[in-house]
């Protein structure tokens, strides 16, 4: 966790866009999806990547409730961490706006950039639709 004022180019722009409801992924001519910052498609090596809007909703593929966090999330625990698929890309995030015990595989969610209670840093979140 870098807690500096220096932004991570590509990543922080993505968070900015996601906060505005304009999240995107990178798509290669073969239709493989990936996340920035990236210059080469990790699947096929294509270099002409295009920003494409993320699907509005995704599905939770797997989840866990974290009771023992890293120090950067010590005041946030327990919290639900999940992997959710949004079309050709998947993301790891925290499930927000729902009791962690209610989280289930297949739950339909939308992206919701949250803030860590511990550090105030932005955190990728998934909010049930």
């Amino acid at each position: 966790m870098t807690d500096s004022q220096v932004r991570d180019e590509g990543f922080d722009e993505w968070l900015d866009a996601a906060e505005e409801g304009e999240a995107y992924y990178l798509e290669c001519p073969e239709g493989h999806g990936s996340l920035p910052p990236r210059r080469v498609c990790p699947e096929c090596g294509a270099t002409d990547l295009e920003e494409v809007p993320m699907p509005q909703t995704g599905q939770i593929e797997t989840f866990t409730i974290t009771y023992v966090p890293t120090p950067a999330f010590e005041d946030d625990a327990p919290y639900a961490t999940a992997i959710a698929s949004f079309g050709p890309v998947s993301l790891t995030g925290q499930v927000v706006g729902i009791d962690p015990d209610e989280v289930a595989d297949g739950l339909e969610v939308e992206l919701a950039i949250a803030r860590s209670t511990t550090t105030g840093e932005r955190v990728i979140g998934f909010s049930p639709v």
Binding site: M1, F63, T64, I65, T66, I83, T92, V123, I124
Partner: protein, 388 residues
């Protein structure tokens, strides 16, 4: 191709030794390995050294030369970092160096100092094996990542926490006579199920401990071993490595480890064996679910069948293929950068009849060691055989 002989092994006790420095741990392991080998220190051509988080735990980079010095060896030394597979990666390149004829004697080992960071600090340090931007900043921990895999496995293939608990019970049982092991205490299934949750569905007893420790081996060419009349009946006969996308969410499958499967297939082919030939296995059980994924990747259990292997007694000490007879990472301990070498050293000792658990596997001739980094974005597999 000539075999790469395991001439000597040395492992420190694994455990909670926060005040011991990495260099002191490596000195102890390397002295034991060199003495066990009967090789003259001056003959060591190179040092291959595994370490994951020395910058965080000891504020120490550039550890290769430091560890060669600690071992009293005047040879070039290189550090390997592949998260928890660091030492496995070091062994692999050591094997290739000897096979290439570019070295006759290699000291290979690894160290991790962890407990001085405390639980929170070590949890933070271990997390750096994941994608910082896209996983760690979302609050994913290392146990959390394996919990995501466990939940995905349960959903796809079935199974329950009690199945995983049997793996922990087995590995604790195996560690009882192992004087190097961190935990030498028997546990019951109920202990595992009632332990505090770390990251559901994984509890405290589904997780390996934080450990300090070091392991080392002296590997030699077959010609060197013969010329110097070394007692080195065990060889590393196969090596394999696989890789995958770093972030778990980018994997094609959340409940399988293709990198480990590739490493296993490559190592088996390299040694000219099949999974059926494997008598014993040491696999990377950083969490109970990891043992399931490992034995399936190594074809020691069918896909979806690894979950019940311990519960059904197929992988227990008296089962058809004992897995983690040393106690595994779960009970023997997991000083991250040392683990890959310690697994091979344990197998070599078991096959040579020099291990407290050798009596379970008196006829064993072939062992396999599986070392995994991160959520198995790195994996190495080595085949170890009795060759004379």
């Amino acid at each position: 191709m000539s075999d790469v002989r395991v001439a000597g092994t040395g492992i420190t006790a694994f455990g909670n030794m926060p005040e011991r420095t990495g260099r002191d741990l490596f000195a102890q392991a390397s002295i034991a390995a060199v003495e066990d080998s009967g090789v003259d220190r001056a003959d060591v051509d190179a040092v291959f050294y595994g370490n994951f988080m020395g910058e965080l735990a000891e504020h120490q980079g550039h550890q290769g030369p430091l560890m060669a010095e600690a071992a009293g060896v005047h040879a070039p030394a290189t550090r390997y970092e592949a998260a928890c597979a660091s030492a496995g990666a070091a062994v692999r390149d050591a094997v290739y160096r000897i096979r290439a004829g570019a070295a006759d004697v290699v000291l290979v080992g690894g160290v991790e100092r962890m407990t001085n960071l405390g639980t929170a600090g070590a949890t933070e340090a271990l997390a750096i094996a994941a994608d910082d931007l896209w996983e760690v900043r979302a609050g994913m921990t290392f146990p959390g990542a394996y919990a995501l895999m466990a939940q995905a496995y349960f959903t796809e293939y079935g199974g329950e926490r009690e199945d995983l608990a049997h793996i922990a019970v087995k590995n604790h049982e195996n560690a009882l006579p192992n004087e190097k092991a961190q935990y030498r205490s028997a546990i019951e299934v109920s202990d595992v199920l009632e332990a505090p949750m770390v990251s559901s569905p994984l509890g405290l007893y589904d997780s390996c401990p934080l450990s300090d420790g070091a392991a080392a081996m002296v590997l030699t060419s077959e010609a060197y071993a013969k010329e110097h009349d070394l007692e080195a009946p065990v060889a590393v006969t196969g090596t394999g490595q696989g890789g995958d996308r770093l972030a778990l969410h980018d994997r094609e499958h959340l409940a399988r480890s293709p990198a480990a499967r590739k490493a296993g297939e490559e190592a088996y082919a390299d040694a000219g064996i099949d999974a059926d030939d494997v008598d014993i296995a040491e696999v990377h059980d950083c969490f109970t679910i990891a043992e399931v994924l490992a034995i399936e990747a190594l074809d020691l259990a069918g896909v979806g069948e690894g979950i019940s292997a311990a519960r059904d007694g197929r992988t227990t000490a008296d089962g058809e293929t004992p897995v983690n007879l040393s106690g595994g990472l779960k009970a023997k301990g997991h000083p991250v950068g040392a683990t890959g070498v310690s697994q091979i050293a344990e197998i070599a000792d078991m096959l040579a009849g020099e291990h407290p658990n050798s009596s379970f596997v008196e006829d064993a001739t072939t062992g396999v060691a599986h070392n995994a980094g991160g959520t198995v974005a790195s994996a190495t597999v080595h085949v170890v055989e009795v060759v004379e």
